[in-house]
């Protein structure tokens, strides 16, 4: 199977949309570009999430206890093992294999328990403050440490969600599972979904815990707290090392910043995996598109493609999850496509999945005055494998009759369906996107029904 940017659900042919499930659907070849922010667990109205946050904090503070009891080596081993959690697959990695922190960085982290009296005495409430104290401790470490300390819960959560949606699970051996009773890492055999390529176990994370950047982070501390409250005009602006030194020596400042962030919890929200553009922006885009000339004058083709890409991905959400935008070259001509996962989330999408074997929907963008037969043939050549026999051309004007005949002939000869959307269809989709009277995807369904009516019976 050659699905573009495959997700675990696509591999198993499980028709779920990202919108309807509680967890972030993992990609097979790459990580999900988000991170677990422990602050979201702390602020959650759910007592379960709060307890998990407490468990993370306790496990982290246990390191301080170990250091104070002279068991530094044990603490060092735990923090190093906790620093990478490949099973959850979060971050920006394209390879899905991360590296643990080195001993040097681990020691720097543990030193905070001895060098800062408040931490040595009371421990952390938000361990992500480490980002403000230690260099090279990044957001992915915060996420991975949090995930490792509650991995046992995440395993149960993954099994529950897998059973709910029929995702196959297999017997796996987890070699880095944290036990919060003994505060040690160990091995355990369990059942989890596996990556079909690498055979590595996969753990799901709830969408409500994910953010691009943690709520407590160095940039925000510097811009919204340090510059406003500590920095005096005329002072030298500290570089990151100096800033971290200052923070270590003035931990009460970090505590004050954290207290402010705690008070601003209403603004702390998880980041969705896909953001729909607002209605005003959609209206602006359709207005830009319809005013653009056809052809390449003044980069009109590029502007058309950029605007349609942003507009269309929002219009068809949540019925179609956007996979990716890609360029291909055919006969020396560069063609830009939008690729969507077909999750059979409506009767129309189910029909094209079953009738045309369409697992992913391709939309080809054409800023041409008139759609020609060659454009239909270009897309036709591309309609194989995961796209099955269904594709969409987004053009500017209604299709000439002779080309419509070509499209019908293609269906008659090869049972392939090509729909052509023009400016008026995009306008209508934007109109219903605004008014919410119908779903924009129903405009595509309408075009499909028009097409089926035109086909010989």
């Amino acid at each position: 199977m050659s699905i573009i940017r495959p997700r675990l659900s696509d591999f198993h042919n499980i028709p779920i949309t990202q919108e309807e499930v509680d967890f972030a659907i993992p990609f097979i070849d790459e990580d999900i570009p988000l991170y677990v922010d422990p602050f979201l667990l702390w602020k959650s109205p759910s007592m379960q999430d709060n307890s998990l946050h407490l468990s993370i904090t306790n496990s982290f503070n246990q390191l301080g206890y170990l250091v104070a009891s002279g068991k530094e080596k044990e603490a060092l081993d735990i923090i190093i093992r906790a620093s990478e959690c490949d099973e959850v697959g979060l971050g920006n990695s394209k390879t899905k294999a991360g590296k643990r922190i080195g001993e040097k960085l681990a020691l720097k982290i543990l030193n905070q328990f001895t060098s800062i009296p408040q931490i040595g005495k009371n421990g952390f409430i938000h361990f992500e403050e480490i980002q403000l104290l230690v260099d090279n401790f990044s957001k992915d470490r915060v996420s991975d440490i949090a995930c490792n300390f509650i991995q046992s819960f995440l395993v149960d959560y993954t099994i529950e969600q897998s059973e709910k949606y029929g995702i196959p699970i297999e017997k796996v051996k987890l070699t880095n599972l944290y036990n919060s009773k003994t505060n040690t890492f160990g091995e355990e055999e369990t059942h989890l979904p596996i990556n079909p390529d690498t055979k590595a176990p996969i753990i799901f994370t709830p969408k409500r815990w994910l953010k691009h950047i943690p709520w407590i982070n160095t940039d925000d501390y510097f811009n919204s707290y340090y510059i406003k409250n500590i920095y005096k005009e005329g002072d030298e602006i500290p570089d990151k090392i100096k800033l971290l030194n200052f923070n270590r020596q003035n931990y009460d400042m970090v505590q004050a910043y954290t207290a402010i962030k705690e008070k601003q919890i209403e603004n702390c929200k998880n980041d969705p995996l896909f953001n729909q553009i607002p209605i005003t922006s959609a209206k602006r885009k359709i207005s830009t598109i319809t005013k653009l000339p056809t052809g390449k004058t003044g980069n009109a083709d590029r502007k058309f493609e950029d605007n349609v890409c942003q507009l269309m991905t929002s219009l068809v959400y949540p019925h179609l999850d956007f996979a990716q935008e890609q360029s291909r070259t055919e006969s020396g001509v560069q063609i830009r496509d939008l690729i969507f996962y077909n999750n059979k989330s409506s009767d129309f999408l189910k029909e094209i999945y079953e009738t045309y074997n369409c697992k992913q929907i391709v939309m080809e963008l054409k800023n041409v005055k008139e759609v020609q037969q060659s454009h239909i043939l270009q897309l036709n050549r591309y309609l194989k494998e995961q796209f099955g026999g269904f594709g969409i051309i987004i053009a500017r004007n209604p299709v000439p009759k002779k080309v419509t005949k070509n499209i019908i002939d293609l269906w008659s000869a090869h049972r392939k369906c090509i729909l052509v959307l023009d400016d008026s269809d995009l306008k209508m989709m934007t109109q219903v996107f605004e008014s919410k009277q119908r779903d924009p995807i129903e405009v595509i369904k309408m075009k499909y029904i028009e097409f089926t009516r035109a086909c010989p019976s």
């Binding site: 306008k427 109109q431 219903v432 008014s435 009277q437 119908r438 129903e442 309408m446 029904i449």
Partner: protein
């Protein structure tokens, strides 16, 4: 027409006029916006009842019976069709009313009844 037909006619005509007014307001604001499924369901119910009254020559448009949900009819599509139906209903009424003195009455089973009605619009608008 029978007395039952007249009752049915008056109900359907008033419902159509009510919807025509409502959708007309939406149509002026956004003529190309699609009508939602909830409204469309009731619009079609009333059109089907109107079809049962407007038989043969009175049917406004050949081949049209109701809106297809999947065709995404717009507000202006609905007002256009309603206008045709209201005109044809009025034509049917004009052909089945009579005047005595200054008042207008329905003709039921070929004879003048005591059910009052208004003057045909084509006379009113003269």
């Amino acid at each position: 027409m029978t007395e039952e037909d007249v009752n049915k006619f008056e109900k359907v005509q008033s419902q159509l006029e009510g919807l025509y007014k409502e959708i007309g307001i939406l149509s002026k604001k956004s003529p190309n916006d699609a009508v939602n499924k909830f409204k469309l369901k009731f619009i079609n119910q009333i059109l089907i009842q109107a079809n049962s009254i407007l038989t043969d020559l009175y049917l406004p448009l050949d081949g049209f019976e109701s809106f297809e949900e999947d065709d995404l009819p717009s507000n202006s599509d609905v007002t256009f069709i309603f206008e045709q139906y209201l005109n044809c209903l009025e034509k049917l009424r004009s052909d089945n009313v009579t005047q005595t003195n200054i008042r207008w009455y329905w003709i039921i089973d070929g004879e003048e009844s005591d059910i009052k009605t208004s003057e045909p619009k084509k006379l009113k608008n003269k």
